[in-house]
Symmetry: C2
Subunit: 173 residues, 2 copies
DNA sequence: CATCATCGTTCCGTAAACGGAACAGTCGGG
DNA sequence: CCCGACTGTTCCGTTTACGGAACGATGATG
């Protein structure tokens, strides 16, 4: 955990809001020296200090402590997916992703293990996805499901980026 | 942010692993006094200290800084839902929840605004949910969808707790 | 019972994070 | 130009979190 990274995030958040270091320090009730050192990563801040600052910025502590993308992120040619949650059950393991599909490109993904299914709920845009030889289409608000033990594809319909949630279900072997 | 809460989580995580305060302090390279004070909430730990301890426990910093359920949590008679993500689009707003339904109780929820739809994907257990007068049923791996502008219900089928993801779609009025 | 190990807490000197003040640099107005 | 208001950084005395050692309590062993 690099304190310099935390510092950069704090500074970025502050500058997004267009407020000065002096102002934020005063609002958060910390010394300017403290905030300056924190943003530079030259100090090793106390929880209390970090809390005061992030609270004033209106973000949770985790916003500066974790990567902007909370989970591991998978980048493909068209698809960017970040893992939101993993759920393990006696019968299967589920992985819940937030997914974005860039327009104009079709991404082909190889087959998963037998029995793996994908559920997609579209937030925005129109998604065309599913088995490569018989893809399905869903508009915003729609839902797709397919068994992904065959090669499958993802693409947008139209120029709009697609936002969706993707649920991968891996049956216990 | 209550340092006592952080302390309790650290202590809980340590005791889950069955290791002593002395041992964890040695492994994490911090003083026993430091760890003792941290667990009691009588100290105001430094990021470095907290990082050393949580890393040794094998959990991310956020595990002790945020609620066990990361987002705002809604508790009902049978349903506990925690907000994972909010997505706002030009057409609609989506809220993605992780949901648990306790067995043996049926929860009735009042109607939402017109056009609001719910998508549920079941992780574990068997869920019976939907419009109160015509609920639907889905086993683990299944998916339900209904328009929730009428009163609707949630209940498990059988004695097993249901785990699921719930997506609420609010069309822009 | 005596002994030893380990438990978690408390004491204490040191190192460092803290807030306030002083500092140089920059912009805008009279 | 000069001045005031502001920016962010640096200096400094005070506060406090730090690790190590000492402590009493507990449990296992001979």
């Amino acid at each position: 955990m690099d304190p310099a990274v935390v510092g950069r995030r704090v500074r970025a958040l502050r500058e997004e809001r267009g407020i000065s270091l002096s102002t934020l320090a005063r609002l958060a009730g910390v010394g300017k020296a403290t905030l300056s050192g924190l943003e530079h990563g030259t100090r090793n801040p106390t929880l209390e200090t970090l809390w005061a600052v992030t609270a004033q910025l209106g973000v949770p502590l985790t916003a500066v402590l974790t990567e902007p993308a909370a989970g591991p992120t998978v980048h493909g040619t068209a698809v960017t997916a970040t893992l939101l949650e993993v759920f393990t059950d006696t019968d299967a393991t589920y992985e819940l992703y937030r997914m974005r599909v860039a327009p104009g490109v079709t991404q082909l993904s190889p087959a998963h293990a037998p029995g793996v299914t994908e559920h997609v709920t579209v937030f925005a845009g129109v998604l065309c996805a599913g088995p490569a030889d018989a893809p399905l289409t869903a508009p915003a608000g729609g839902h797709l499901r397919w068994v992904s033990d065959v090669p499958h594809s993802y693409a947008t319909v139209g120029d709009e980026e697609v936002a969706a949630s993707l649920l991968l279900r891996y049956p216990r072997r």
